[in-house]
Symmetry: D2
Subunit: 378 residues, 4 copies
């Protein structure tokens, strides 16, 4: 693991997600730029000192020298955005598979390079777009792709949060610190952090290709250098229209991500804060509330569920679904088997690239007087 | 009453709303362009034939000849949009107050004339922007205006419906017929019918002045001449940003109007389909669910409530609040008294004019390549 | 109208419910034991002094002397429980139909006499068990009676309120005053006031006959002479079991009446505070949320709905459904026509009698050491 | 681990819960009465064959012979009820701590013996009453114990499920099989399986001592030998009254466990299917929705939460909280430290004993004609 030392939020989540199913074991790590922090973290995680490294470059180099079976199987990179590209490239170069936090890279240019590297090496890269790990999101995808709601017309996706409504100093909140800093976060603030999840969710569920967008990004908090709020109208191939909103100044909101998709025949609605319910809506019959773990669900939803209905599964389980599918795919590879489609169901470098295109485009769209900006490819 | 014959939806609602509190009695009417329909409707409503008229012009002229006390006190106009202006002008000319359905007129030009006529005559005009009649909307206004949530930054307002998702012929649905016909509905479809409610709700609650907007209107159903869906970004004086969405093709949605307003200190949320709850949201304390009829509410909310807490009040009561406040104001006038502020709390010609400016602007904003269009004044 | 003077809650609700549809007009009244209050109330309601009476006996006697067409058509009795029986008997004796608030009488004995009087006279008596007036309760009845959920096994019905959690003096709250006074309320407090609604709701929806019950009533507030809380297990013919709970000391609850019925094939759930939704539950398919006013509903539900879907209808509309059906039945009678079943769908003296049997039985069941007490018939 | 082979539900949950935080590692197991199943399961879990045992007696005996540090630290017993007592006694006799599924034993007599053994040995026994592991249940306990809602009067607790609404053969559903079999489940069916959770939840949150109860148990499904549904009225020391309902034939319900507690000053409500919200209710101010992970929560709630607000935590996390607190307590013990109170916050043999008393009492209470049955102690 690269990153995830004391004070990190997402590092601990990665470890719980990896632990949950007993398929993955922490082998080594460089948890912080500070070796002290790294060492303390590693020891707390029961690692021997020999597998706790002072730098990720050391770690990758040293592990590569170990015998197969002894060395780590893959690297999980859970650092701020500006430290995604280099460790990922290093790892791939040395033949390690990668799990990487989103957004994939600091810049679109890095994203292209990384995606190409993944293709060249044939190694696996899983990107933790967590929300697509929820079983009911997979059910939504299944239903939309099967045509249950007909040709898609209108999409609403939103992600309001309130935690950055005030000026937070880095000493108070390590999470906030790097996210509002253009040098570590990249071109976008809220749009890189949570807007990308919105865009990815549309992509995952509908498979539609975005054409162009009209957007306005805002920095409401005084002195903030990156957007902490924004909204966009997005036009999709085939005529579907999406409205995307993300905010980190929506006081009182936690992680109120939701998506609603309306087709010619029906509609569907999913909300992250009550993730085990998927609503299907119709004009001529009652709304149906589909619930995790029922017999009437798709194989994809069932494969990603761990308990019988009515035992709420949450964020960590969704996260763990990405790890588990990645691990199952990896096991197939190691065993020389072809992984079935449900194992391959985790976000990849292609999704990461689309996310970086989204960030690049929405920032450009926000700045000019032109109403519509085409999705920036490269 | 002008309009509201057999097959009308809103006419019956107007009558129930007017009946509810026993302050208003139906005196006469011209309920349809067809005298036969009008006569049948009037008789069913226990009117004598002498007060059932063949045209609204007749009605207004004849009633004006009756003695004070015998003649009607005001005219309620509940016809399609293209028959708002003329009867309203006629009524005002003859000294009758007016209750008028929204949007106020067919065109912005008519709106200006009507608003000026109201000012000249000093007569009352109430516009039935129903949703501002709900007690918890009034509470939202009270709290925002008092500064509870601080300076406003971000507003989300939306009104998804599904009933026009398919092509509906007029013979099947009288309501649908005129709404999708540019000759009777005006420049806009969904935006005139329900988008105006969204815009009005922001205005009523926040009092902010819209500056300009960026919009995209869609006609998803084949052959439809007016928008049946649309979205807009609106910039307000002082820096607040709103996202407005209205759709009549959101399959499975009924009247899912909602508004969320986020200020520097707090947020609030109200949904029309569960109208007796107003959520107040904070970053540092639990979300509060305010409920109709409680002691902790404002005088404005209480004045517009009829039953103790837990007895749900709905759409008809909200509608009746407009009628009741209008009637109470009228009674004060007739008694030579100054109406207290809570009586004056009903939408007027000024609100109608703003609604027509909204329609004019959003249609213009949708058509061009320019990102931002200033609110069209005249 | 008998009762409903200044300070009354339910009198005003009766008037709004009667007004709503324009089918009923207030003709006369004795609104209070105080003639002054009565006169003031009547005048505010636009009655001439000649039709405002000093006592209900006067009113009934005087109105009976008026010519048909001039005199009132029926009497609405909205007084506390101890003043139900006498005015109702007087009215029936003089040939007037009656609308009566629940519980029907002060004692079971009175209930028997009144029910017999209704049968003898052939006159109409409508009892305002409001909650059966909701369209989705009618839908529940329709579905259960049609067998959609199979043979009934388990019923949960509850009505928690919080408003009597503290000792309230009559001067502070006129509603509370008589309800906690055995001389005016009868044998039961909470069970007469709201427990009867629970029992009636089971009866209305399922049609099952109660056999016996086991109960415990509590008076939590110090010095209270009647129950302010209670719970019962009820056994029904055919083996269904109900759990009934009512409380007026459940702090923070408003009128949280709900019923859940589970049969061999499915379950249903309805909650009064969100009355326009009826949930149907299944083991092998998604929960369905039926909503007021949709095409898929029964004729009974539709007949009792006034607006299209998504316009919330509430308590007053439910109340008005009793009045409207009563009035429609009365109109048929006056016109010599047979009323269709949907007009006859309002609570009658038979329901009132069952309610008084419930009160008698639950009080008896609560006091002894015996586990089960048969429903007391007479 | 004892039990948890192929086809087990709760065994896998135990393993995920133990894995989650990386504090516990599976060391050995006897996963099934069939050695084949056991071996297959163990191998799938990456255990060496040497640590996969043919019987739990073998396992306990063999592991006891291993050196400290090599041998297992504790035994998790996840078998049906009739195989709880013996392995637990064996383990304690050999000095192993125990994690045990609920209900603690097959009979009350066994429960006494086991509880005494725990006391004698001074070893730890954690009982997986999962629902008390939820952070918002801990918050409820904290608030009630601090007196926020005042002296408790009325409690409603319920646990409706629908999965046993039909006759299920063991071959179809291994979970159902033993639960409806008196030889493996014990005296009670639904009451042992889920009723105990209800009783435990009251106990955990309020600390009140049950005095006596009145109950009716039902076996609705033809041929069923144990209760599949039941209801009870429970009287608590100090005058509080509880209504407890559990059903496994409530068609369409999943695990709809909920508890509502009303005191003299306020009320609270928690529902397992949306576990991250705790409602606090008041008569004179708005209902407050407390949410997992916020700064305003108690230390107990925070200690048992893993992610920031709005990332739903669910059933596995609640389960893992029991394992984690057990493991943290164990680590303190091993390190010779006194565990802080939040580590000791997991259900113990005392709770297990109370659960068995509940089962014994409710079955007795259901069978006689006597209204009230005192809690059976021994």
């Amino acid at each position: 693991m690269v990153g995830g030392g004391a004070g990190s939020f997402i590092g601990a989540v990665h470890r719980m997600a990896a632990n949950l199913d007993g398929e993955i074991e922490l082998a080594c790590g460089c948890f912080s730029a500070s070796y002290e922090n790294s060492l303390a973290t590693g020891r707390r995680l029961f690692l021997p000192d020999s597998r706790i490294y002072a730098s990720y470059r050391d770690m990758i180099a040293q592990e590569a020298l170990l015998a197969e079976g002894d060395r780590m199987d893959f690297v999980a990179i859970v650092t701020p955005n500006h430290v995604h590209f280099d460790p990922a490239m290093q790892a791939l170069d040395k033949g390690f598979h990668v799990v990487l936090d989103k957004p994939m890279t600091f810049s679109l240019d890095e994203a292209w390079q990384l995606q190409e590297k993944v293709q060249q090496t044939g190694l696996l890269l899983a990107l933790t777009h967590t929300y697509t790990g929820y079983p009911m999101v997979k059910e939504a995808r299944f239903r939309v792709r099967r045509g249950d709601i007909g040709k898609i017309r209108r999409i609403y996706v939103e992600y309001p949060q309130g935690w950055l409504a005030e000026n937070v100093s880095e000493s108070d909140n390590k999470q906030a610190g790097w996210r509002v800093d253009p040098k570590r976060s990249g071109k976008a603030g809220s749009m890189g952090d949570i807007g990308t999840h919105c865009f990815n969710l549309i992509d995952y569920i509908t498979g539609l290709r975005a054409v162009d967008m009209c957007a306005e990004l805002n920095a409401f908090v005084e002195g903030r250098l990156l957007d902490d709020d924004g909204a966009a109208l997005i036009r999709y191939e085939g005529g579907a229209k999406a409205m995307l909103a993300a905010s980190q100044v929506a006081v009182g909101e936690e992680n109120n991500l939701s998506i609603r998709v309306y087709g010619e025949k029906g509609g569907l609605e999913w909300r992250q804060e009550e993730p085990n319910t998927l609503l299907l809506k119709w004009n001529d019959k009652p709304t149906e509330a589909l619930r995790t773990s029922h017999g009437y669900l798709s194989a994809a939803a069932k494969h990603n569920t761990r308990t019988p209905g009515g035992h709420p599964e949450g964020y960590i389980e969704a996260f763990a679904n990405i790890y588990r599918n990645f691990a199952l795919t990896l096991q197939c590879r190691l065993a020389g088997e072809t992984p079935p489609p449900e194992y391959l169901d985790f976000p990849t470098a292609n999704d990461g690239l689309k996310g970086m295109q989204f960030i690049e485009t929405i920032v450009a769209a926000s700045s000019g007087d032109k109403k519509w900006t085409s999705i920036i490819n490269r």
